[in-house]
């Protein structure tokens, strides 16, 4: 499927590489030194653009930042997670302790 153009003004997420692995600071541990330092941010598209293309966005504080368009109307993925049985067991157990005193 070919991506349609994303219209100017759309809220998008952009990505840019800040440092390549060989530009990383000397003090970083070996695993970190193997990967680039990358940055993402969000803003309103300055002009019509497409995914994976370089675009400019205006951020919430009004700065213009450039990067590769990676997400349109990006979703927050964090949530409350799956139920954790070990956690659910705590309430009843401590209430019983308070009642029984043991």
């Amino acid at each position: 499927m070919i991506d349609k153009a994303v219209p100017k003004g759309t809220w998008v997420q952009i990505h840019q590489q800040i440092l390549s692995p060989d530009q990383r600071a000397p003090q970083v541990p070996a695993d970190t030194a193997k990967v680039p330092l990358v940055m993402v941010t969000k803003g309103f598209l300055e002009k019509d653009g497409s995914r994976n293309e370089n675009v400019a966005v205006k951020t919430l504080c009004g700065r213009v930042v450039e990067g590769k368009l990676i997400n349109v109307l990006p979703r927050f993925s964090h949530d409350f997670g799956n139920a954790v049985p070990e956690l659910l067991a705590i309430g009843p157990r401590v209430r019983a302790l308070l009642e029984g005193g043991e």
Binding site: D31, T32, L37, C61, S77, G81, N82, V94, L98
Partner: protein
Amino acid sequence: MKDNSYQAVMARSNEIMKKAIGMDYSQFERGQLAFDYQAMMTEAGYSLEEVIAVQRETGVGNTPLYELKNITKLARINAPKGKGARIFLKDEASNPSGSFKARRAALAVYHAAKNGYKGVVAATSGNYGAAVASQAAIRGLKSIIVQEAFDSKGIYQPEIEEKGRACEAYGSEVLQLSVGPELFYVFLRVLEDTGFFNASLYTPYAIAGVETLGWEIVQQLQDQYSLKPDMVVVTNAGGGNLTGTARGLRKAGSDALVVGASVDLKGLHMASDQDFNRKSFTTGHTGFGVPFTTWPDRADVPRNAARPLRYLDRYVTITQGEAFYVTELLAQLEGLERGPAGNVSLAAAVALARELDEDQILVVQETEYTGAGKHVNAQLSFARKNGIEISVGNPADSVPGQSIILPEHPSQIQAVDMDMDDLRRSYLKHALGILNGAKPQPEDISFLAEDCRVTPEFIESFAQGVK
């Protein structure tokens, strides 16, 4: 055209910082190592009365103080006869952005506005981002928050994703980075590009902002319960929470013992891409607490106003499982659903209460808001997904990055003391290392003694031992 390479920007770091803080630290420098801490705090900071007035303007502070009667009762089970202090909690989640960090941000943003800056920048993956964003929103300043947020696979620590969302909600531009200390380079570039104020956590004003917290504890205990605090437990990371609270307690005339508490994350490297999502706490842990205690001047300002060794009576660690467990206790027994990172000191308090008499008063001085990502269930669920083993048993058997053990019984919660003299020796080793073999001058000796709360003789004998 300006050279914006990593090396070039780092090389002009001092120049960028000076402009972005608008304060000349050299006026306080004395001797080779020494600087006049008290002068810096009084001349460059704000008085308690000024801080109270600034915070009132933006709704910061005056958070409720609760007595945790059920948790106290639970802590007394298996305590020696007559032991088990009354535990009180300062509900800092009631601040505008949901944590005590609003106190620091209130002063930083006020100071920025007063000095004509159009915006503020903060490098933080923690609650401070939302605090700065919220305070900037109130005062009509722009804000940019720079976060270390995800690993090289693009996986966010859920707590940081939530904090990033909160910053956006308050109108901040949020720059999110993969793992690594070079975040500081991005931070410097943003400061240079915008001319905004560096809302560092470690300036005299940011620390002065926390003094009201210590002050309120004393006032509220007196007004509401006619009591005085015997011990105040403070979650320790960069040292500002501890320093500011202790200074506020002293200003209110309290001589309560000040205990720092951190989550033990021994064995995990803070700059490691692979370790990044193997920890369930992004702050309040030993990965910040120990290095900042043993050498405060590693912060984003020339001289750190947060100097924990000056105020620490004890420094204890607890495990991740214990902090999660007490977070559940706080919700289940006290009806307060709060974020786990704010409950590190509560976990320590459950253990420390058993050492104190029943009529003594122990105050836990913070909570933080909770929500998606920043919730005990979110964190445990995320840890399990990342292969961390979660079980119920003795938390002392857990290994950071490999296992999280929730206590089976509240009596298993332990506060493990660090050796204060070891911390001091580590600090001194660092300090004398800077001298590179030169002899510390008398003013250096007295500064070092003050900075780690020992006698000048302790410093002299340590210095001789190093040679």
